[in-house]
Amino acid sequence: MKRCLYCQEAIYLRVTWNNVVQLNSPSSLCELCEEKLEWIEGKRCVVCSRESPANCCYDCKRWSEFYNGKDPLIRNYSLFTYNDFMKELITTWKYRGDYVLGTIFQDVFKQQYKKNYSFIMKQAIVLPIPLSEERLLERCFNQAAMLGQFISNDVQIGLSRTLSEKQAKKSRFERITMKNPFKQTERLNKPVVLVDDIYTTGRTLRHAAQLLTENGCPEVYSLTLCRA
């Protein structure tokens, strides 16, 4: 019997033509948990993927001003809103270290990558946001690298993290004014798709993007699981 990866309840599959012919692989969550995942739907900000009626949201305008009209991050695409269920799921996955929970998103993450970044897929480099060495040894895996491996077989490491402060507990002001925690270890001359788990203020991704564009990278995009 198959069980829900998150709540361990038994999953009873309804037999339909789709799963008889094995067109789509069955979900690893039960129906109840699946319902609690909140997809970002409807009109969204073109830059940061937040659900908003305006074409470009207020935060992104501020970012554009911050960088004098040259926002290093051209576009971010997120799949889910960061609701309470997602928060819990990501805490168990990332902080408690329940590694397999990441595989819930394997298929959808790949699908959305293909759908939204088809125009650069062939030449683009997939670059997960790195963890600091200390944090990696503590957690034993990098959640962003795991997401990166879902969409590409050739995940690169062009960055390294020097500062290892946790972002999650900072205020917006502290985040915006913090120093760039990254260092570039390799020169990349192709467009880059950054991969991370959560887009909160966009600070981390823009730090990385800024560094990459300064060192000759033509375009930086990003794909994240959640938009907080």
Binding site: T92, G97, Y99, V100, L136, C140, N142
Partner: protein, 503 residues
């Protein structure tokens, strides 16, 4: 990736160098410093921990391992068919998954069952203390409690002391409000006087939080610690521990006396890993006491077949009978509750309570219903003249409530007059003078044990030994009828006993 691994190896090397150079010093210290070793023994003897849980500097830790004071044991063992986590003893395959570990660069298993207590991985062992064992101090007359036990309590307490001396197990079946905690005092005293280690475990964190201050008051000179997820002092170094059953997973052969309060409560009664943890936490020669007001089927069978010694305490400590629940039928109760409408029977009951000064505890079947009821009742109290004059304050609690502890404490201080709760407050908590109402008692969450426990919240003090218990329902269920019959049966036995004592 490679770079990171290189860095890690460098760091390991550096650490090794450090320990080599400082080990000589430590060796000298170890020989000299037995006191320090006893301090470590108090912290780590009888525990089964991951390396992160030691909170020792790496150099000292490696030294202790090398001196065989701390010994590693494999954390996950895989035989041909089954995999077992050595901490929680889980062996169901769905609780194991593979992680691509960055520390050892290999994919291997980890346990998902006890991941909330810190991840157990195949590549990192569990450690136990094999150094000199901890000698717990002997206390003289540790009990500072002045009260007196009733006859029934004294009888049970004597049996318990005997069990403790004979190193066997006993079940105490005592009705709600019979003063179980006080019955424990003679046994705890006996254990402390002989320098033994004691743990009182309960499946509920609320019970732990309530027990600690009561015990501290009774044993004022003894250090007592309460262990539960997120508790403040959680190093578990005290001689007398109060702990949730989950926290017992970190112990191995630690206690001479283990008391499990509310054995029949969720999640202990159906979680085999917790039952395993409890049996492992005891020393090989130790005594075990179960406390319950509502034994489950398994325990009843064991008692009937003489496999488990037991004492039955039918009377409450103040000698009054248990309040018997009253059933009030409300047509279409569920539909009405969903559409924000209070049943008129409930409102009528609010108006006609015998003692309106009593606080009111309302049990709701679900969290959403509890929240909804709060709003609806608040508007009712504003608009209804008779109730408005009483100036009731309302709040609600449920398992996920961040302010749960505060709200319960505020209710105890009489800051709130009405508390709406889910089944989390069904057991182990004492409010001196309350009336109890269950809204939608026909719901599945209220099983027989839960309903008996809920009824037992009323009339728990000497000053106000009675209280009203009302089940609002839209169709009697087996659990309701059984619960009522159970309570009446216990009352009958109590009456017989009281009459018997008079003769």
């Amino acid at each position: 990736m490679k770079k990171i691994i290189q860095l890690f190896k460098q760091r390991q090397k550096r650490d090794m160098d450090k320990t080599c150079s400082s080990s000589v010093k430590y060796n000298e210290q170890l020989i000299l410093d037995k006191e320090q070793l006893q301090q470590y023994a108090a912290r780590y003897d009888g525990k089964l921990l991951l390396e992160e849980e030691f909170y020792l500097p790496t150099s000292l830790f490696t030294l202790l391992v090398r001196e065989k004071i701390i010994t590693p044991t494999p954390s996950i063992t895989a035989s041909f068919f089954t995999t077992t986590c050595k901490r929680c003893h889980q062996s169901e395959p769905q609780y194991f998954a593979t992680i691509h570990c960055a520390r050892c660069e290999k994919p291997h298993l980890y346990c998902r069952s006890c991941i909330r207590m810190g991840r157990v991985m195949e590549c990192t062992p569990l450690y136990e203390w094999t150094g000199p064992p901890m000698n717990w101090p002997v206390h003289r007359a540790p009990c500072s409690w002045q009260g007196e036990l009733t006859k029934a309590q004294q009888h049970a307490a004597n049996r318990m002391v005997k069990t403790f001396e004979a190193r066997c197990s006993l079940l105490i079946w005592a009705v709600t409000g019979s003063g179980k905690t006080e019955m424990l005092f003679p046994t705890i005293t006996a254990a402390l006087e002989t320098g033994k280690r004691i743990c009182i475990a309960s499946p509920r964190a609320d019970v732990v939080r309530e027990l600690v201050p009561r015990l501290q008051a009774a044993f004022s000179s003894i250090p007592i610690q309460g262990l539960y997820g997120g508790s403040r002092d959680n190093d578990g170094t005290a001689q007398l521990l109060v702990s949730t059953t989950h926290q017992l997973l970190r112990f191995k052969h630690a206690f001479d006396l283990l008391i499990i309060d509310e054995v029949d409560a969720f999640p202990y009664h159906q979680d085999l890993t917790l039952q395993f943890a409890a049996s492992r936490a005891r020393k090989e020669e130790s005594s075990l006491v179960y406390l319950t007001a509502t034994p489950r089927k398994i325990q009843r069978q064991q008692m009937a077949m003489n496999q488990l010694d037991y004492v039955f305490v039918p009377a409450r400590f103040h000698g009054h009978l248990l309040p018997v629940p009253k059933f009030i039928y409300c047509a279409k109760l569920q539909e009405r509750l969903v559409s924000d409408e209070l049943p008129k029977e409930f409102i009528h009951w609010l108006h006609t309570r015998k003692k309106p000064s009593r606080q009111l505890l309302v049990f709701a079947s679900t969290i959403t219903l509890a929240n909804k009821l709060t709003e609806v009742l608040q508007t009712l109290f504003q608009h209804d003249y008779a109730l408005h004059q009483l100036q009731y304050n309302i709040t609600s609690v449920h398992a996920g409530d961040e302010k749960r502890e505060e709200k319960v404490a505020a209710f105890r201080r009489h800051d709130y007059h009405v508390l709406i709760t889910t089944t989390i407050l069904e057991r182990g908590v004492t409010f001196p003078s309350v009336d109890v109402a269950v809204l939608d008692a026909s719901h599945d969450v209220f099983d027989e044990a839960a309903l008996v426990q809920i009824s037992g919240r009323a009339g728990r003090s000497q000053a106000d030994p009675t209280g009203e218990v009302v089940f609002f329902h839209d169709g009697k269920t087996n659990s309701m009828v059984k619960a009522q019959a159970d309570i009446m049966k216990m009352n009958r036995r109590a009456r017989e006993k009281i009459v018997g004592e008079d003769e």
